[in-house]
Amino acid sequence: MVKESIVMGVLYSVLALGFNLVYRVSKSINLAHPEIALVAAYAALVASMQGLGFFLAALIASFIGFGIGILLERGVARPLLGRPPVALIAATLGVFYLLRGVAIEATGSYWSGGSLGDFGTVYRIGAVVFTGSDIAALAVALVALGLVIGIHRFTRLGVAMRAVAENPYGAAGYGLPVRRLTALSWGFAGLLGALGGLAFGLKAGVSPGIDSYVLKALAASLLAGLDSIAGIVVGGFVLSFTEQFGDYFLHNYLPGFGEVAAFIVMLVVLLLKPYGFFGTERIERL
């Protein structure tokens, strides 16, 4: 249970960070994110079924995620600049359905799902037992998380992206290519979605239900605050521990509590602390 919480916590963090990156630049939620993860995971599944090897499959999935992210920015987010945030939610919800349909249609007989390979060995760290697929999922997720957080924190590109997220007009005044950096943020969000989906596929096999886990990761995003980056890890862990332990203690009274725990957390956070632990509060002026 502890192991499950740790692995799920990291996976949720990766998936939730994708929501946050988009929120920082576009000030709204990208509801197509779950389907990016799903499409990428299926791309990896199909690729590995064709015998391309795991690393090539992961590369293909990352490219697809990154590409969908950029296309979304160009096709949906940029035309909606200046419209209320609700418009972007509705439009990406449409893309959510579109991508799901494309995934069902394109994968054909693979839609029922499958495993991304066998990582049979069992590892023990103290009393906690990790299976090989857990380790693989953790590795992919940590690489994705480290890469994106590292870029944001330590490189000049990261500074530029933070500047654009903070104040696009000011950033443009300093000569930063705001459009390209915004698109890049969406691309990174797509990449995170893809790698998160891939890690999920490694852990539990690729199945049509992957996107529902990504929707739950939205709760982690809210817990951390929608515009925080490193704080997301706290959100992910709080969510996964609540889910696992809540299910453990309550499943006699509320069967299947783990399925809705994320949404209950989401509702509670929204009511008590809408800006999360690390988010900045918005002050509105006319």
């Binding site: 418009a87 349909g101 509702l267």
Partner: protein, 335 residues
């Protein structure tokens, strides 16, 4: 307003039917609706009843999304509350004609409670809260209310003065009457003080509160009204089907409702919702029948429509129709 059309009195400006096209559309629509059962077979009547039920639900969501500007993804689950209330009352022997209004009121109460968080939340936060509510309600349906995926509604509760209301002409005219009443009510919301307050909140809630509108109350009222319609739709759904299961009240239904509003015309309560329901619901039935389409194509068509309309045509189909009408009104002159 088109050039060259002036309203000279306040009464004319606030009238229910302001333009000739309103009268023409109303007469044509009523004639079609009243004569439809004569022309169509029992399959057509079933389709029409389903369309009207979704039309009512879409009008409710249009109040929330189009008038008050709050996106809600819980309309499907709210419809479920109405339907299950009717089903459970019917299991206790209550006649459906009594149970349907009770179900609608019950749903409105739930919707009012759901609308209360809006005193802190706005925009996307409310959208996420409604997704969470949809998921939690779905879970409750699955676990407690309807664990066996299907509650059948007793036959004898659908009989009044010897007429069986659950089928055929009686069902059609009952649902049509409810729809007309709901549509009239919705049209009057749009042109009354409540509706104008909702529009002000939609356009800018901070300035709305500055001019003295109680933003929280307006939003909660919009949610309650939207839920009332969802509950009515759910009750009529329970009347039209011999048994109901939670499969009909999932997130997919909610997204379908949102698609109806966005494609038809947000803010145009009656005709926008009707066009949306026609396109999404009946259009889909026809498409599925003609091409033996599967779920994948449904997802693609529906999702593509939502995305395209939000990005390119925020006024929906009704906006396109209005532009066409204005083009031909003074054709071949431009104004």
């Amino acid at each position: 307003m088109p050039a060259g059309v002036f309203k000279e009195t306040y009464l004319a400006d606030m009238a229910l039917l302001r333009y000739p096209i309103h009268k023409a559309a109303l007469i044509a629509g009523l004639a079609i609706a009243l004569l439809f059962p004569v022309l169509a077979g029992s399959y057509g009547i079933d389709q029409a009843v389903a369309l009207l039920v979704f039309f009512i639900g879409a009008m409710g969501l249009n109040i929330v999304t189009g008038l008050a500007g709050q996106i809600s993804l819980a309309q499907g689950a709210l419809m479920g509350i109405g339907a299950y209330t009717v089903a459970h009352l019917a299991l206790h022997g209550v006649n459906v004609l009594v149970a349907i209004p009770l179900g609608a009121i019950m749903t409105a109460a739930v919707g009012f409670v759901l609308g209360l968080p809006s005193f802190r939340l706005k925009g996307y936060y409310l959208a996420m809260a409604s997704i969470a509510v949809q998921a939690i309600l779905e879970y409750m349906f699955k676990t407690w209310i309807d664990p066996h995926q299907g509650i059948s509604i007793p036959y004898n509760t659908k009989i009044i003065t010897g007429i069986y209301l659950g089928k055929g002409l009686a069902l059609y005219y009952l649902v049509l009457g409810a729809t007309l009443a709901a549509a009239l009510f919705a049209a009057n919301i749009g042109r009354s003080g409540i509706g104008r307050a909702m529009k002000a909140v939609r356009d800018n809630d901070v300035s709305a509160s500055v001019v003295g509108i109680n933003v929280t109350r307006t939003k909660a009222l919009a949610f309650a009204l939207g839920s009332l319609y969802a509950g009515l739709a759910g009750g009529l759904y329970a009347l039209a089907n011999p048994s109901i299961g939670w499969g009909a009240f999932t997130l997919d239904t909610s997204i379908e409702y949102l698609a109806m509003v966005l494609v038809g015309g947000p803010g145009r309560l009656v005709w926008g919702s009707l066009l949306g329901a026609l396109t999404i619901h009946t259009g889909w039935s026809l498409l599925a029948g003609a091409f033996a389409a599967n779920a994948a194509i449904k997802y693609m068509v529906l999702g593509g429509l939502i995305a395209i309309f939000v990005v390119l045509e925020p006024d929906g189909l009704i906006g396109i129709l209005r532009r066409a009408k204005e083009y031909f009104r003074l054709w071949p002159f431009r104004y």
